[in-house]
Symmetry: C2
Subunit: 143 residues, 2 copies
DNA sequence: CCATAATCGTTTGTATGCATACGACCGGGC
DNA sequence: GCCCGGTCGTATGCATACAAACGATTATGG
């Protein structure tokens, strides 16, 4: 202990960042268990958003799914290698790479939706319905 | 629209996992900005926990900081390469690798604590004090 | 005392996730 | 027509993050 003690000790376990990391860890574990392990949360985000908005450019899809340009590229590369997505040049803009859900991709989305809902459900299982609403509202302010 | 419409459409932006990912992204960005960019949240977790509990084994430190064995090894390797931590064999247990904060490491911790507090503060800035308490309590249930 | 289970650390492979730099391409203004 | 700032995709490097497989060591049960 030094002459001038810190007013508050820094306790890692009380910091919001550390708590958040653990909550995300638990969620990802639940998610992986429910999706058969062949779709990561990130890959699912890309697939489901594609199903939601239809064909769009790679960068645009990245923005919609909160992914860096380098990250979305890796994700789409892997999804395309597995035949779930398909890319093509944008006829109207030589810079853009259009990303499309393949029939197999759409099938996988349809098949995975219930698991995705369940992942959300399981993650929030310790909370009551009002608590879930409160949590979501508070987190929305911190995005 | 198919004959049998889904009861609820899956909207990515409403899923707790997606919201959590964005909150973590914002927190990490704030953290990096405050710590001079030379300490990641994970590295800081290891350092601050070491300062909190003193020397301990690598795996133990991993558990205390919610890191995988492979992850904590990489973190300690990098911190040791920078002279902030030091490892040694446990005299009492040939399996264990003891991790210790070096004087330089302790100095870096002292110097970084205020920034770490500020990162928590900035992350929670959009919330009132009662809201922060509520959020923390709810997240704790989801660890 | 010894066979077996459990723990510890390492290594490899895969997948994010961000920063940076790069070249290609688009639009607007001149 | 042409430069120029902005956008798009690519490539590389670094740092998590976890699973699986492995060898070494320790603890435990009989």
């Amino acid at each position: 202990m030094s002459r001038r003690a810190s007013r508050r000790p820094y306790v890692l376990d009380e910091q919001i960042g550390f708590i958040l990391r653990q909550v995300v860890q638990r969620h990802v574990a639940l998610f992986d268990g429910l999706m058969g392990g062949d779709l990561t949360p990130t890959q699912w985000a890309a697939l489901s958003k594609l199903a939601e908005v239809g064909t769009c450019s790679q960068n645009q899809l990245g923005r919609l799914t909160a992914m860096d340009v380098a990250t979305i590229k890796g994700v789409i590369d892997r999804l395309s290698a597995r035949g779930l997505t398909k890319t093509s040049a944008d006829p109207g803009d030589g810079r853009r790479l259009l990303v499309t859900l393949t029939p197999a991709g759409r099938e996988r989305v349809d098949q995975a939706v219930s698991g995705a809902f369940q992942a959300t459900e399981d993650t929030l299982a310790p909370l009551t319905a009002p608590e879930r609403q409160t949590l979501k509202a508070l987190l929305m302010k911190l995005r």
